[in-house]
């Protein structure tokens, strides 16, 4: 296990150094958070029947999504895309480590380090700065209760494992398509839409709710955020964790199987 742990630790340390990227991300995510809240505000004012997710809850949902954007499985690691394109991925196969495990370990560091860097200033902005500016309606309220707060933390950790399984599956897809842009593009669209990054999932029509909850994407943001804002009772956190962990297990098995198939018929770019 030490090999994988060393990879996580080294990448984590390295990613923590990217202050510029963190600041840039923070600014962008704040901007998009405000834009999305303004749009939602318009819809909520115009809506005849109020949705089950109240406006303050929807605002909280959006801010949690923006704060944990780096955790959300909507993109792929440019270093892995480069490795596949340039063929440096052969070195990864020269390591006495399992390639899936190595990529999963990299994903853990790549998803968690920037999230930790951005989350706290983001929370400070949404929960303290906005109310201080008199925009309390657009700010992030505290969790629905102590239980909701604890449930959110647990579900966010679950979201990390799930998100890394989805990310690694996408990396396997990148390897299968020799670094083409198709897999990342598809992933960005599908995961953002079905994961609640575009519109909070509770605002989708009722007939879609069962399907959306069953798909893996809801576990990455939607379910944890609903625990936080109290749209799902803290007592039901067990079911959220079960959804996340069972999808993680399925996706890991699928990813490993596809990767094993891929490496058997690997063609190394550039001889």
């Amino acid at each position: 296990m030490t090999g994988y742990a060393a990879v996580v630790a080294a990448r984590f340390r390295m990613l923590l150094q990217y202050r510029g990227a963190a600041l840039g991300g923070l600014a962008t995510q704040t901007f998009f958070g405000l834009v999305r809240i303004m749009i939602l505000d318009g819809f909520y004012r115009a809506s005849a029947t109020p949705p089950s997710l109240g406006f303050p809850q929807a605002v909280g949902y959006v801010w949690l999504g923006q704060a944990t954007l780096a955790l959300f499985p909507w993109n792929t690691d440019s270093e892995i895309r480069d490795q596949v394109r340039k063929g440096t991925v052969v070195y990864e196969l020269c390591r006495p480590l399992d390639l899936y495990g190595l990529w999963y370990a990299r994903a853990i560091a790549w998803r968690s380090a920037p999230t930790l860097l951005r989350m706290i200033p983001m929370f400070a902005f949404a929960a303290a700065v906005l109310p201080a500016l008199g925009l309390g309606d657009w700010g992030l309220a505290p969790p629905a209760g102590v239980g909701a707060g604890i449930a959110w933390v647990a579900a966010t950790v679950g979201a990390l494992f799930l998100s890394c399984a989805l990310t690694t599956l996408a990396h396997v897809g990148v390897l299968a398509t020799l670094g083409a842009d198709g897999v990342p593009a598809l992933m960005a669209t599908i995961a953002s839409l079905l994961g609640g990054m575009v519109i909070p999932l509770p605002l989708f029509p009722d007939w879609a709710q069962g399907l959306l909850a069953a798909l893996p994407f809801s576990g990455a943001l939607d379910l944890p955020a609903r625990l936080y804002v109290g749209h799902i009772a803290a007592a039901d956190a067990v079911w959220v964790l079960a959804q996340q962990l069972s999808w993680t297990a399925i996706l890991v098995v699928l990813g490993r199987w596809l990767l094993a198939r891929q490496t058997r018929r690997l063609v190394v770019q550039g001889g």
Binding site: T2, G3, A5, A6, V7, A10, M14, K86, G87, T88, V90, Y91, L93, C94, R95, P96, L97, D98, T263, R264, R265, L266, V267, V268, G270, G271
Partner: protein
């Protein structure tokens, strides 16, 4: 017992063919045409522990493919491969822990990290015991003169510096077998000499088995006692450099510098062939069994005012080029 056994190795790549032009591109959307490339077509050789073998051939001959199969990265379509009694791609993780690999065109160091941190990471990845690691690391740092580079991020290193660091990175876990895939590519003369010196010492002093693929035949001349020549996925020749020369041609070259440029135009001999005439320099090719070097020199110096002359073996490039031609 042989450390490496390769028998009838075959690797076929299926490559999608692109048809030219807009219509071709559209047709390719509907139906793909595939072409089979036999990168390895029955390669066989044995290697004993402690050997240093040069593996040469033109671009696309199958050199890198062989190395990648031996390193456990690629799975061949047919044939038998054993390294230390293991099948590389079946026992990949155990296998790669005991080999070192350097691909000259790619680096295994982490681009954004200082060199020493890449080394420390490799220690953990290969689970090298701390004492063994310190010994190996300090020795490599000294042998390759890496001390001033250790705190530099890899992206700021020159190619020669990077290659020295990559060599060290491949050897931190003290492998008994080292694959070098074009380790001197793109390096300047000084850096090439450093790399060659290091590889020679590694092989002689530690007995590390080395397989060296290269296009630079000076590498081979400087290092390899045994040369495998491969073209179109087949082994054309396997033996010492001297045997390779003897097999292809006994030819030797006499280079003559004359005092007077006009004189140079007239130099020639019934038993030798003029292969180059450049100003006051003339190069003759001859077969020492037809005319001895002493006799040829005597004839030339009798007729012309010679300033300097020397006899040499044709460069290995010429030999190998002829070997490839013979195949075509």
């Amino acid at each position: 017992m042989a450390q490496i056994v390769v028998e009838n190795l075959v690797k076929v790549f299926r490559v999608a063919e692109r048809r030219p032009g807009m219509m071709g591109a559209l047709a390719g959307l509907v139906r793909r045409r595939h072409r089979e490339v036999r990168a390895l077509d029955g390669v066989s050789f044995h290697l004993d522990a402690g050997e240093l073998v040069g593996y040469i051939g033109p671009n696309g001959a199958g050199k890198s493919t062989t190395v990648k199969v031996l390193a456990g990265i690629l799975v061949p379509d047919a044939g038998r491969v054993e390294v230390d009694g293991r099948v590389p791609w079946k026992d990949r993780i155990v296998h790669v822990a005991r080999i070192g690999v350097v691909f000259g065109q790619r680096t295994q160091l982490w681009w954004d990290l200082p060199v020493i941190e890449s080394f420390d990471l490799l220690r953990d990845v290969y689970r090298v015991a701390p004492a063994d690691y310190r010994r190996a690391r300090d020795e490599l740092i000294e042998l390759l003169a890496l001390a001033p580079l250790l705190d530099t991020p890899v992206r700021q290193l020159s190619l020669g510096q990077r290659m020295r660091c990559d060599l060290a990175a491949a050897l931190l876990h003290a492998p008994q077998l080292l694959f070098l895939d074009e380790p001197t590519i793109g390096l300047d003369a000084v850096a090439k000499l450093q790399v060659r010196d290091f590889v020679r010492r590694l092989n002689r002093e530690r007995g590390t088995t080395v397989i060296l693929t290269t296009h630079d035949l000076d590498d081979i001349e400087a290092l390899a006692r045994r040369v495998l020549v491969i073209a179109d996925g087949r082994v054309l020749s396997d033996g010492s450099l001297a045997e390779l020369r003897a097999r292809v041609s006994r030819e030797r070259w006499l280079t003559v510098d004359v005092v007077d440029d006009e004189d140079a135009a007239e130099i020639g001999d019934a038993d030798a062939r003029v292969i180059e005439r450049d100003g006051h320099r003339v190069r003759l090719a001859f077969d020492p069994q037809v005319v001895t070097p002493a006799e040829l020199i005597a004839r030339v110096t009798r007729r012309h005012a010679v300033r300097d002359l020397f006899v040499e073996n044709p460069p290995i490039e010429a030999i190998v080029a002829r070997l490839y031609e013979g195949q075509a």
